[in-house]
């Protein structure tokens, strides 16, 4: 039904006005345009406001800084030396000014105007010649050419007159009448003259310039921080600050980082902190300038190490890449060193990346690699497999070569023609020769295989020894919760069922080798305790729990060792850890792995004392009978459990020799897509709780490996198998950092740190250092804390010298060949082995490690490379001492002022009671003269805290002379005293020592 038409006769279609909606919508459109403009200029460019804020804060900070720096500068400038320099500069400047004023005048008033005049005349003529020359070049007829040539000649011959000033700067004018050639010559002459004059001026100004440089160097060397002028410069820079994107562009990989659009303080010459910038952390400077020196941001960018989205500038979330779709979110502060791993993936120790190093060390020394493959860890097994594969390929090649060679001979014998036969015989011969080359290759590989056989080690102890080693009842107790028995043990806690504990114990017990141990009488426990605490056991092992704990964390805590083992085994083990119980059933070619524990070369008596002491380390815990361990039926079930839990990843177990790793490979875990990390029932929690990322997963998993089982209904064998390591919060962070950094890097090879020169020796060496815990006793990097240093006894002033030597500059100190010898036999003697070869005075003993030749070489190269020592080392023959020199040095050496033999060993047991330094007799074989020289001059620079005193020599007249009363013979000696002592030391003989001792040197 139609509505009644409107009463008025006006047509609504034609009369309705759209002005209002048009106006309103146009207005809205305009507003959206304004909005878009605002959005573009400000809302999406938050860094603009940030930059303005930075300028304000930085300027006010600089204003505060300026007077402080000015005061420091003033202090330096008012020093006598500076004033002297200043005066010199000023007088030199005055001199130079006086001398150069004439030259200036000559150049400016004479040579330059004259040159201008001559050149304009010369150029006019040259232009005139140019035209006919062009025509000449393009002319075709000979006649035309000839006429043009004559034209040119006539122009060249024309003499022009030029009004010029004289070149002596006097301002006199003269008129030159010259043709083209003369003008050219005059112009040349003037040019040379000007160059000469300028050179002369520079040379006259030189001394003043040098002095000025010296003066500014003086200031620079002594100035802590910026000078007031430099601060002013910065303030000025802020005045001219242009609000704009600051970006780093790495052209070769088209990488763009705009982090510094907000983080403006990152590279400012003043080290800014959040506090100095009004609490704005965004403006603080990069905390490690040293790092930036090696990794110049202009070359490496920012997000390459830190992650985040370097391009994004629209918001902090976008820039830091902490959102769902950015695969490389900014590392959190505690994990910041994760960024190092992507390029430093070949290393176990990266300088300045301590958290990462801790993570790698945990991965190594908590045995993570037993279950999880990670490239670089347990590289020996991988290499062994590879070597064996290569050998078999080569062997196959040999066989086929032989076959082919034989075949060729037969074919040659039957060939129709001689040269065909000859070719075939040649071929046969070539193949035989090739085989001999292959044989050599195989021999080398076999050598490597033997080496690797020594190097390959499982993480945990061999369980085939357990029957002779362990107390039977103890085994199930340990298995059910190792951390109950020994808190912090490296053996993690598996979530085993009772029957699993029983069947595993039974299997292991019944499959271990049964053997007899030599029985030993008990020793002296008190002496044992002393030996245990001083011989070096505590470098790796610890004893005592909680507050009383002392010693290292590398090996087991021995607090309750007496409860688990037996005395005779302990004696055998301590005396020679490589001694294994013979297995009568073993196949002939069976390889049994050697332990990490080195041989301390203790005498049997000492060993008994220590074992006796250790056997007393126990509580009175009762152990339940474990008869089931002898039940074959129980044992039969154990094998499956052992396999399920991957026990063979860390232990040698009979019947599981070929078992592989059960865990997932972690080499690239950090770049594994998030979807592939199983957050299980926590997926939504994680997404909404903000921890749906790698960090969140790793942290929770490491903290509690069963975490992601929570809420899941699974049967026992389906549950997560990873055992609990009871890691501390710091350890979780360190391992998380390591895993976060374990990524498939986006960077091309030349960004990665994979050196092929000496630096690769350092990388290689650290693996051994860390694997064998050299760090437990020795400080290798400045700031290292060894296990010894934490022991109370060694904090006593009397015991400081008993600390094992620092190895900061070991490579520079010792000769490589000697080091090889020492590492293979630290006693430096085949007979007298119960001693230290170098530092006989040390209670702690440098043990003999079960190194392969390869490893010994690696350790040696490590030290050499760390000290930038070239290999091979070619010792420099030291200049023989003249008789006079020998006499002089002997005087000095044994004089009262330099009582060297007071501390250095002499081989005389009575004298050596208080010794705290090595014998001079081994110096020439052991030390490098260059190092020895530096050592004598300032030992504290090489080994801080050493017993060797500083300032034995003073620098005078371009040489080092002894800093004390000099024997009379030195009166007219012009050479370097320290150098003389070095030569004396390197020509020191047993006879010399005897005669010195006989003559009654001080301290005798």
């Amino acid at each position: 039904m139609a509505k009644a038409p409107p009463m008025d006769h006006d047509d609504p279609v034609q009369n309705k006005s759209l002005s209002v909606p048009l106006f309103v919508s146009t207005l809205v459109l305009m507003l959206t345009l304004v909005w878009a403009l605002y959005d573009e200029l400000y809302a999406m460019r938050p860094w603009k406001a940030t930059q303005q804020q930075f300028v304000e804060l930085y300027q006010s900070y600089l204003q505060q800084l300026r007077p402080k720096q000015a005061a420091i500068e003033q202090e330096i400038k008012s020093s006598v030396e500076y004033q002297e320099l200043n005066q010199k500069v000023e007088s030199a400047e005055v001199d130079a000014a006086a001398m150069t004023v004439d030259i200036e005048k000559r150049i400016n008033r004479g040579v330059n105007p004259r040159m201008v005049a001559v050149r304009s005349a010369f150029q006019a003529l040259r232009g005139e010649i140019g035209e006919p020359t062009y025509k000449l070049e393009t002319a075709t007829s000979a006649g035309k050419k000839a006429s043009l040539e004559s034209d040119i000649a006539s122009i060249k011959a024309r003499v022009v007159s030029v009004e010029v000033v004289s070149d002596d700067g006097s301002g006199n004018t003269e008129t030159l009448q010259m043709d083209f050639a003369q003008l050219e010559a005059e112009f040349e002459r003037l040019r040379n003259l000007r160059a000469e004059l300028q050179a002369e001026r520079v040379s006259l100004l030189g001394p003043a310039q040098q002095l000025r440089a010296k003066r500014s160097d003086y200031l620079k060397e002594r100035m802590n921080g910026l000078t007031a002028q430099q601060v002013d410069g910065l303030i000025g820079k802020m005045d001219d600050f242009v609000v704009d994107i600051r970006q780093i562009h790495l052209r070769d990989i088209d990488w763009v980082d705009r982090c510094e659009s907000c983080h403006l303080g990152a590279r400012e010459p003043v080290a800014l902190t959040a506090a100095s910038m009004g609490g704005h952390e965004v403006f603080s400077g990069h905390p490690s300038r040293d790092l930036l020196k090696i990794h110049d941001p202009e070359q490496f960018g920012c997000s390459s190490c830190h992650n985040g989205n370097g391009r994004a500038t629209s918001s902090m979330v976008k820039g830091h890449g902490r959102h769902k779709y950015w695969l490389w979110p900014l590392y959190h502060k505690e994990n910041v060193t994760a960024g190092c791993q992507q390029c430093h993936s070949k290393e176990v120790v990266t300088p300045m990346a301590e958290t990462l190093n801790e993570g790698r060390e945990l991965f190594l020394n908590r045995g993570c690699w037993g279950c999880h493959r990670f490239e670089g860890f347990d590289i020996e097994s991988d290499e062994l497999t590879e070597v064996r594969r290569e050998i078999s390929i080569l062997a196959a090649e040999t066989t086929s070569n032989i076959k082919e060679s034989e075949q060729s001979i037969i074919m040659g014998d039957e060939a129709d023609e001689d040269d065909v036969a000859q070719n075939l015989y040649d071929r046969a011969e070539e193949l035989t020769l090739r085989n001999s080359r292959i044989d050599a290759q195989i021999a080398t590989l076999k050598q490597k295989e033997r080496n690797l056989g020594v190097e390959v080690k499982k993480f945990g102890p061999s369980l085939r020894e357990m029957r002779v080693k362990l107390r039977k009842e103890w085994v199930p107790v340990w298995l059910s919760n190792p951390h109950d028995f020994r808190p912090g043990s490296k053996m993690p806690v598996f979530r085993l069922l009772d029957e699993e504990v029983k069947s595993i114990s039974a299997y292991l017990w019944q499959n271990a080798i049964d053997g007899d141990l030599r029985s030993h009488p008990l020793g002296n426990a008190a002496r044992g305790k002393e030996l245990f605490e001083t011989r070096g056991c505590l470098g790796c092992h610890s004893i005592g729990e909680g507050e009383d704990r002392m010693g290292g964390t590398f090996a087991a805590n021995l607090t309750r060792i007496g409860e688990k083992t037996n005395y005779n085994y302990l004696v055998r083990w301590i005396h020679d850890p490589s001694e294994l119980t013979p297995d009568p059933d073993a196949p002939e070619d069976e390889v049994r792995l050697r332990p990490i524990m080195p041989n301390l070369r203790l005498s049997v008596a000492e060993t008994r004392d220590i074992a006796t002491y250790l056997m007393l380390q126990k509580t009175d815990t009762e152990y339940a009978e474990a008869d089931y361990m002898d039940d074959p039926a129980t044992a039969a079930k154990g094998l499956a459990s052992l396999r399920h839990y991957g026990c063979a990843g860390c232990h040698e177990i009979a019947g599981l020799e070929t078992e592989g790793r059960i865990g997932t490979e972690l080499t690239l875990e950090g770049s594994k897509p998030l979807d592939r990390l199983d957050f299980a029932l926590f997926t939504h929690n994680a997404k909404r709780g903000g921890w749906y990322n790698h960090k969140g997963f790793f942290e929770r998993k490491l903290e509690d490996p069963a975490f992601f089982d929570e809420g899941k209904v699974k049967n026992h064998l389906e549950k997560l198998r990873m055992p609990n390591f009871n890691l501390s919060e710091g350890q979780v962070t360190a391992l998380t950092t390591f895993l976060l950094g374990a990524v498939d890097t986006q960077f091309p090879k030349h960004y990665r740190y994979e050196p092929e020169d000496d630096r690769s020796f350092v990388q290689e060496g650290w693996w051994i250092i860390k694997r064998y815990n050299c760090n437990g006793c020795h400080q290798i990097r400045p700031g290292d804390e060894t296990s010894f240093m934490a022991i109370d006894r060694y904090k006593d002033p009397d015991w400081v010298e008993q600390l094992p030597p620092q190895l900061y500059t070991e490579g520079a100190r010792v000769q490589p060949d000697w080091l090889l010898e020492f590492l293979s036999n630290p006693a430096l003697s085949s007979k007298n082995i119960h001693r230290n070869g170098v530092r006989g005075y040390l209670q702690a003993r440098m043990p003999t490690f079960y190194f392969s030749d390869r490893q010994v070489g690696k350790v040696m190269r490590f030290f050499m490379a760390r000290s930038s020592q070239p290999l091979p080392y070619l010792p420099e023959e030291s200049q023989p001492l003249s008789n006079k020199e020998r006499l002089m040095s002997r005087r000095l050496f044994s004089g009262r002022a330099a009582p060297c033999l007071k501390c250095h060993m002499t081989g005389d047991p009575l004298r050596d009671r208080n010794a705290s330094a090595p014998n001079f007799l081994i110096a020439s074989k052991r030390l490098k003269p260059e190092w020895t020289y530096r050592w004598m001059i300032e030992p504290a620079n090489i080994a801080p805290g050493t017993a060797m005193p500083s300032e034995l020599f003073r620098y005078e007249d371009h040489r080092w002379i002894f800093n004390g009363p000099l024997p009379a013979a030195f009166q007219d000696y012009e050479e370097d005293h320290a150098q003389l002592m070095v030569r004396y030391m390197f020509q020191f003989t047993a006879g010399e020592l005897r005669s010195l001792l006989a003559s009654g040197v001080p301290g005798g």
């Binding site: 039904m1 139609a2 509505k3 038409p5 409107p6 006769h9 047509d11 609504p12 279609v13 034609q14 759209l18 909606p21 048009l22 919508s25 146009t26 809205v28 459109l29 959206t32 345009l33 909005w35 878009a36 959005d39 769902k324 779709y325 950015w326 695969l327 897509p673 979807d675 299980a680 029932l681 997926t683 939504h684 909404r688």
Partner: protein
């Protein structure tokens, strides 16, 4: 109830059009039908009163003698068009400023997205994949949809309702179109967007999209219900069932086409080709809900199983 999940889906910038669709479609359906009913009331009046029919201008819009039947495009149409562009531009500006176009991680063929979804406007087709094999859902159905749409003017022999909204004069056509467009297409798009979660599983609004959710579903081929074996027997059985379905739905469609006097009159105007084409399209269209019911309620996987293709 997990409303956050729903919000997560709806607030995805790419799903905003779906939300718009869910608002605009009902609105315009109502808007169009409202006029249709208004027109229908006028039609009823005119049908009842032939005198009035002769003089009436036959529109619901007001009209008076003396008003021009046509107006100038300039300015009466152009000003509206101009207004529309201004408004649309303003809307686009606001939309573009406030909502950022999605950009996810760089493409990575080794990392499957779960759920991996086609653009929202194709989700109807993707949803169909649940019920049919890809060759039907992805190729045959879309082709038939296009063909069917093009064929509409050539099948529809109803001369009424040309150029004005009406329901009563085109009941059949409107019902069919609403069924096809809104129920089968738009609703399937909405289901594909809002309901289908990881693993293309059914999550009611308010249910958490749980990647770990497992649904035990045994979908059986129809012949397994009967227990047939043998390729030919199965194929024959399937063909028979399919034939039965075709027959039933053809009968149903025919019933519909002959339901009222008016319908019969229209049917009478149709050629055989038109009729057969209409039947084909109708049967195909009905087959989708039929299969949906068979699948969702009776867990039937295939009806017809042959060595080369399955339906």
């Amino acid at each position: 109830m997990d409303w956050y999940q729903l919000w997560e889906i709806i607030s995805l910038p790419d799903n905003v059009p779906i939300v718009l669709l869910m608002i605009m479609l009902p609105f315009y359906t109502w808007y169009g039908l409202r006029q249709a009913f208004a027109n229908d009331r006028l039609i009823a009046q005119l049908e009842a009163d032939p005198e009035m029919a002769k003089t009436h201008h036959r529109k619901t819009q007001p009209f008076k003698k003396g008003w021009p039947r046509e107006v100038h495009v300039w300015p009466y149409l152009l000003r509206i068009e101009f207004l529309a562009t201004v408004i649309v531009t303003a809307i686009l500006m606001v939309w573009s400023i406030t909502l950022d176009a999605p950009l996810e991680e760089p493409a990575n063929p080794s990392l499957t997205m779960n759920p991996s979804k086609a653009p929202w406007y194709f989700l109807g087709l993707q949803e169909m994949l649940v019920y049919f094999d890809p060759w039907i859902a992805g190729v045959v159905m879309p082709t038939l949809i296009i063909v069917g749409l093009i064929a509409i003017p050539y099948i529809d022999e109803n001369p009424l309702g040309n150029g004005y909204y009406t329901y009563s004069q085109r009941k059949c056509a409107i019902w069919t179109f609403i069924f096809g467009f809104i129920v089968l297409w738009c609703v399937m798009v909405v289901i594909g967007t809002l309901i289908r979660g990881p693993g293309w599983m059914w999550f009611w609004p308010g249910q958490t999209w749980d990647h770990n959710k497992l649904v035990f579903e045994v979908n059986r081929d129809l012949h397994e219900f009967v227990g047939l074996t043998g390729t030919w027997a199965i194929a024959a059985f399937g063909t028979a069932v399919l034939g039965a379905f075709v027959a039933v739905s053809a009968w149903g469609t025919h019933k519909l086409l002959t339901l009222t006097e008016f319908n019969r009159k229209i049917l009478d105007r149709m050629s055989l080709t038109q009729y057969l084409l209409l039947q084909l399209l109708m049967i195909t269209m009905i087959s989708l809900p039929a299969k949906m019911i068979a699948r969702l309620v009776f867990r039937v996987k295939y009806v017809l199983v042959t060595p080369w293709f399955n339906i």
